[in-house]
């Protein structure tokens, strides 16, 4: 589904971690680990198409991205948010599906309230419900455990497992570990030295290795 070849994400002209090459197949759950600042979030954002400074090759695919920010409009109810979101993906809205998704993640009773009226944990559950509605196969999740209580964490694990079993794939950056069977762990090693790798002569020149 997704092939990464020697990817190094960059900020301020410096590589963040040692090159990674990953092949993500359908049905796989891949956990990105590494110390703080290793660049896990940046890698996910790169794969989502939000970060363009990197070297290496990968072919971008349509994906679902969940970053630190919720991606929900606080003034709108979950149902209205979903309608909009599906509009982005050009799917037809289905009221029943929406309610079903909210029930799955345990916030059905909040379906008609503006998202800003909810607690952080409840908003996270609404975001999770949105994943269920997306048509994208590849999920890129950045610290999905944030603000989730124990029951929500269980739901998270179930949702991810089901998605993988259904043929999707999940790449997840997390500090805590998710108890998902058959997971693959990829560790990002921080590039230790700042007096770095010799810059090739063309470092300011034509980009030849862009995906």
């Amino acid at each position: 589904m997704l092939e990464l070849e020697e990817i190094v994400c960059e900020r301020d002209g410096r590589g963040l971690f040692a090159p990674v090459s990953i092949s993500v197949q359908a049905g796989e759950y891949i956990e990105l680990t590494g110390p703080n600042g290793a660049g896990k979030s940046t890698l996910l954002r790169t794969l989502a198409g939000l970060h363009s400074r990197y070297s290496g090759v990968f072919e971008s695919v349509d994906c679902l991205y969940q970053g630190h920010r919720l991606g929900l409009d606080g003034l709108l109810t979950p149902l209205e948010n979903f309608t909009w979101f599906l509009g982005l993906e050009e799917q037809t809205p289905d009221h029943e599906r929406f309610l079903g998704a909210l029930q799955r993640t345990g916030v059905l009773e909040k379906a008609y309230q503006p998202c800003s009226d909810m607690s952080a944990g409840q908003q996270r559950r609404v975001a999770m419900a949105r994943w269920l509605l997306s048509s994208r196969s590849l999920w890129l999740l950045d610290e999905p455990l944030t603000a989730l209580d124990a029951s929500a964490q269980k739901v998270l694990v179930q949702i991810i497992s089901e998605h993988c079993q259904a043929g999707g794939a999940v790449v997840c950056a997390t500090h805590g570990e998710l108890a998902i069977p058959e997971k693959r762990s990829v560790r990002l090693e921080v590039v230790a030295s700042t007096a770095e790798t010799p810059t090739p002569d063309d470092s300011l020149g034509v980009r030849t290795s862009q995906g």
Partner: protein, 218 residues
Amino acid sequence: MSRLLRREWQVALRAKGAIINPVAFLLLSTMLFVIAAPDTVGSDAAAGILWTLVLLTQLLALDGMYRRDFDSGVLEQTLVGAQVPFVAVLTRIFMQWLSTGFIMTMLAPALGMLLGMPIALAPAIALAMLLGTPALSLLGSIGASVTVGFSRGGVILALLVLPLFLPTLIFGAGLVAAAETGSSIMPQVYALSLISLIALAIAPFATLAGLKISIEMQ
């Protein structure tokens, strides 16, 4: 597209401040002008003053154009999730115009009269605004997209965007002045329309590029 529009509409209705505040500012600043320089009321300068205040109001309204979505993560969802992000940008700009430029177009004749312009000029004023304000929203969107990540981007936004507004200002005020003297307004009509069309051609692409840059700064 219609669902994107619907969300914009829902947000607009629930955050009415975004619409009312600029309007209040426009009224307030008109009043300030009349108090500070009463001789300008009814003079030839009135059209220019009206247009300048409209420009400044537009500037004020532009500052928050993408900020809410930027902060909440909706913007990154749009960039990642949309099959056609271009349409989302166009929708946003259209809504911005609807909530600012269009409102000002409706109010402008009344404000013109507050500034002492004869009522016969009302159609000319409205026409000038109708043709010119889309350019303001479009070009302003470019500046807003690049500065959305800055904490005090308002000043830089003004600096970037006011030179781009200048042609619209010139022809917009010029249209009203021409109507006042009874000469043909067609040159200004053509010019304003042309500027708005050029803006329509470049602004959505430039805005998308600007948003991608800004989102990478997050």
